[in-house]
Symmetry: none
Subunit: 447 residues, 2 copies
C-alpha cells in the first residue's frame, strides 16, 4: 500500500472519520494549492488560504493541506499530483494573470492532457472589465478567454481571468485567480453553491471561549479534567493565545446540527463553572469576530454611558483600540496621555509629593489619574494605566513589566497591579487588554 | 528517475541555479512546514511563512514549498517525508505548546526514531520565563524541557518551547514554536547565523527606499524608465505597499558584495533625482528596520527637542506609534485626545463658533489644536489631526477620508488637507504616517 493509501487508512481509522462519510463520490477532503513566487519569498502574506479554509470549514469541508509552490511548471505538476492522491477537491489560486510569468493555465492543460478553446462568456467578462475603464480589450487580454477545452468556466465579474472547474477521475480541481477580491467573490457566489449542490457535507460546529488574564499553561492545568471529558463527545479543543489572552476553540463534526450545538453549549456551561472570572466573551464561527474593545463599546452604547482614558505607559494604545471601533464617538470622549511627570501633575492633579514618595507607577497615582480624567472629561467611566513598558526603567522593586491599572466608575475607583513580561510592545498590548477587561467587568454590573 | 529526482533536475537546469551553488552538502533549498489546525480552518492567517521566506531569501536561500498541515500524527509524518525528498533544509513551525493538542515534538521523536532527554539549558529558559511572572514552573511546563535525544536545542528566551535542530542524513530539520515573536527571535538570532556559519550561500544585497505620500501606480509610472534600466544590472525591484507608504526594494544576487552594493547605490542615486520629495528614508537589510516614528524620534533626540500631539480622528494612534519606540519618554511629553467637540473647546481652546462655522475637520481647528497643545504641554513641536475616518460622518463637501493635519513648530504652524480612502483602519494609519512625515520634514530644517 502506498504511503498515501496508508495515510488515508489511518485517517479512516480515526474516531471522527465516521462523520466524514462519503456522499456521492466525494468525501469532502480538500487541499489548497497557492501558486506564486511572491508567497515563497515572503513578499506577500497568503491571506487567501485562510479565507478559503474558513469558508470551506463553515460549509462542512475540511482542508487537509495547504501547499504554496512557485510559478514553475514541474513544481505545479508535482503539487497537483500529490494533492490528488490525498484529497477529493483541489482548490488552486494564482498564476492566471496575462503576463509571461503566469503559467498555471498552460500547466493545467498539460496536466489534464487537453488543449485550449475560446470561451465566449469568459471573453464577454474581459470586454466588460475593460469597458469599466473605458478601454478596448488588448490582444494579450483577449488570450484570457482561452481556457482548457475540458473545463467548465467559472465567470469572473471582477477581473479578466476566468475560474476553471475540472472534474477528472472523480476528483474536482478548481483554479481561481490569486487577486483576493476576485477569488473571494468567485468562492462565495459560485464555487461553494456549486459544491453544495453536487455533494452533501457533514455539519461542523465551532464555538470559541475568549479568556483574558490567565496564561495558557495555568489555564490548561485548571481545565485539564474538563478537557479530558471532551473526547467522549468527539469535541476537539484548541488553545489560541495572543498577548494577555487565550481563545479556547471547541470543534465538533457530525450530521445533526442541533445535537452538535447542544453538546458544545453544555460543555461551555461546564467550563464557565471552572474559569468564569477569566471569560470575557464568546465567538460563534461564521458570525463577526468580537474583540474586547467591541464588546466594551457595545456595553457602553447599550447603557448610554461614556468613557475617557488617562494613559501613561500605554501611550494612547487604549484610546486607539477603543476608537478603532466604528461608531465609538458615541461613547468615547477623549484622553490625556500623561507621559511626562509634569503632565500627570498639571493635567491630572497628581500631587508632586505623591509621585516623589510612591513613584509614577503606583496605586495612588493611577487612582488619581482615573479619578481626575473622569471628572475633567465628564464621563461615566474612565481607565488609567501607568507602568514600566521597558526595556529601560526597571528597578528591583518595580521590574520591567510592572503595571498599575485603575478604573473609575460613578461609585468608586478600583485598581490592580500586574506583572507582565519584558517585551515593550507586548507589555503595551497586555496592559490595554487587561484595562479593557477590568472595565468590562465593571460594566457587567449594569442592567 | 523519480518525480522528485526529475523535479530537482529541472530546477538545476534553470538559469538562476548557478547562483545557488552547492556548498558543503547543502544547496540551500528550503521548505517550510507549518503545523496547526488553526491555519487550515482559517482561524489565523499564516504570517510566519512570509517572515521566514523573506529572511531566508535575504540570506541567499530559496524556499521551494510551504506546506501547512494539521496537528495530526500521520499527516505530519507524511509532510516531513515529502519535504525531505525535495529540500535540504526543512523549517517547521507550530505544535510545540505544552497542551495536549500540540504533538509536533512527539511526532518528531517518532519520525527520527529517537526518545527524549531532559535538557538543562532548555529548562533554565522555562524557569526564567516563569520567574519573569514571579511564578514557579508547573509540572506541565517542566515537560517543555524534554527534547528529542538527537536534537540540538535552540534556546528560547521568549517562551517555554525550545527550538530543535536535527541533522539527519545530510538534511537539516529545524522545529520552532508557532508564536510569531518567539519564532522570529529564534530565526534572526540563532537559526540564520547558524545556517550561515555551516553553509555558504550566495551574497544577496537588498536595499529599500521608503516613500510616503505617493500611490503605487503613480509611482510606478513616474519611475518606469528607471525601472526598465534595472534589468541590465540584474537588479530586481519590488513594490511593498502599506497604508500611505510604498517601500521600493532593490535586490541583487552574486558573489562580490562590494560590486553589488556599488551598483545598487548608483541606481538609488538615480532614483533620488526622480522622486526625492517622496523619499523619507532607506533601509539596508540586516540593519534594524527604520520606521518613520523611529526616524522622527532620533531627530528629536539628537536635537534635544520635544513633541506633543492633539488627536481627534486618529484617537491616540499617533501617540501610540511614537511611544512604541523604546526611549521615547526622552522627547514625547503627552497628548490630548479630543474626540468630542467639548474637549476640543475646553482643553484646546478651539472657539465654539469656529467649530460651528468651519466644522471640526477644518484648517482653523487643526491649527488651533496644534498651537494649543504645543503651548500647554510646553513642547518644541506638536502634531494635530482631525478627520473623518469613516464609515459614517461623511458629507458631500467632506467625504469619508477627509483629514486635516497641522504641525506647530517654534516658528510657525503649517497644515495640510488629505483625502484618503473609505476604510476606517487604513485612514487612521494613513493619517498617522502622513502626520509623522510632515513633522519629519520640519525636523530636517534643524542642523
Amino acid at each position: 500500500m502506498s504511503r498515501y493509501g496508508k495515510l488515508r487508512k489511518e485517517f479512516m481509522q480515526k474516531k471522527n472519520v465516521n462523520d466524514t462519510l462519503s456522499f456521492g463520490e466525494v468525501r469532502g477532503e480538500v487541499e489548497i494549492i497557492t501558486i506564486g513566487d511572491e508567497i515563497l519569498i515572503g513578499q506577500i502574506v497568503d491571506t487567501n488560504s485562510a479565507f478559503i479554509g474558513q469558508l470551506l470549514n463553515m460549509n462542512g469541508m475540511s482542508v487537509k493541506q495547504i501547499s504554496s509552490v512557485s510559478d514553475d511548471r514541474g513544481h505545479i505538476l508535482a503539487a497537483l499530483d500529490e494533492a490528488k492522491k490525498r484529497a477529493d477537491i483541489i482548490l488552486i489560486t494564482g498564476g492566471l494573470g496575462p503576463t509571461k510569468d503566469d503559467i498555471t493555465k498552460k500547466t493545467l492543460c498539460e496536466y489534464f492532457k487537453t488543449s485550449t478553446r475560446f470561451d465566449e462568456e469568459a471573453y464577454q467578462d474581459v470586454v466588460n472589465i475593460f469597458a469599466t475603464y473605458g478601454k478596448e480589450v488588448t490582444p494579450i487580454n483577449r488570450l484570457q478567454a482561452e481556457v482548457p477545452a475540458i473545463c467548465e468556466v467559472i465567470r469572473n465579474k471582477n477581473g479578466t481571468a476566468p475560474g476553471m472547474w475540472f472534474n477528472v477521475d472523480g476528483k474536482i480541481f478548481i483554479s481561481m485567480p490569486g487577486v483576493p477580491y476576485e477569488m473571494k467573490a468567485m468562492m462565495k457566489e459560485q464555487v461553494i453553491p456549486k459544491l453544495r449542490s453536487q455533494f452533501k457535507f457533514p455539519v461542523i460546529v465551532h464555538k470559541t471561549v475568549l479568556t483574558q488574564g490567565i496564561g495558557e499553561s495555568t489555564l490548561s492545568e485548571m481545565i485539564s479534567g474538563w478537557e479530558d471529558s471532551l473526547g467522549a463527545h468527539n469535541i476537539k479543543l484548541a488553545y489560541l493565545p495572543s498577548p494577555g489572552m487565550v481563545r479556547l476553540r471547541l470543534s465538533t463534526k457530525g450530521s445533526n446540527e442541533h445535537e452538535l450545538n447542544a453538546i458544545t453549549d453544555k460543555k461551555i456551561e461546564e467550563l464557565k463553572h471552572i474559569i468564569s472570572e477569566y471569560i470575557y466573551g464568546y465567538e460563534v464561527y461564521g458570525e463577526e469576530k468580537e474583540t474586547l474593545e467591541m464588546m466594551v463599546g457595545q456595553m457602553l452604547l447599550k447603557n448610554k454611558k461614556t468613557v475617557s482614558t488617562a494613559e501613561s505607559c500605554t501611550g494612547g494604545y487604549i484610546s486607539h483600540l477603543i476608537t478603532k471601533v466604528a461608531g465609538s464617538s458615541a461613547y468615547y470622549i477623549g484622553s490625556v496621555i500623561s507621559y511626562a511627570y509634569e503632565i500627570k501633575e498639571s493635567e491630572l492633579g497628581v500631587p508632586h509629593e505623591v509621585i516623589m514618595k510612591h513613584g509614577a507607577v503606583s496605586q495612588p497615582v493611577v487612582e488619581q489619574m482615573a479619578k481626575a480624567i473622569r471628572e475633567r472629561y465628564k464621563t461615566d467611566y474612565s481607565i488609567s494605566a501607568s507602568g514600566i513598558a521597558g526595556p529601560g526603567g526597571g528597578t528591583t522593586d518595580k521590574p520591567v513589566g510592572t503595571v498599575w491599572i485603575a478604573i473609575a466608575t460613578p461609585e468608586k475607583v478600583i485598581s490592580e497591579k500586574f506583572l507582565f513580561g519584558n517585551n515593550r510592545e507586548r507589555n503595551i498590548q497586555k496592559t490595554a487588554n487587561a484595562a479593557l477587561n477590568m472595565l468590562r467587568k465593571e460594566l457587567e454590573h449594569l442592567a
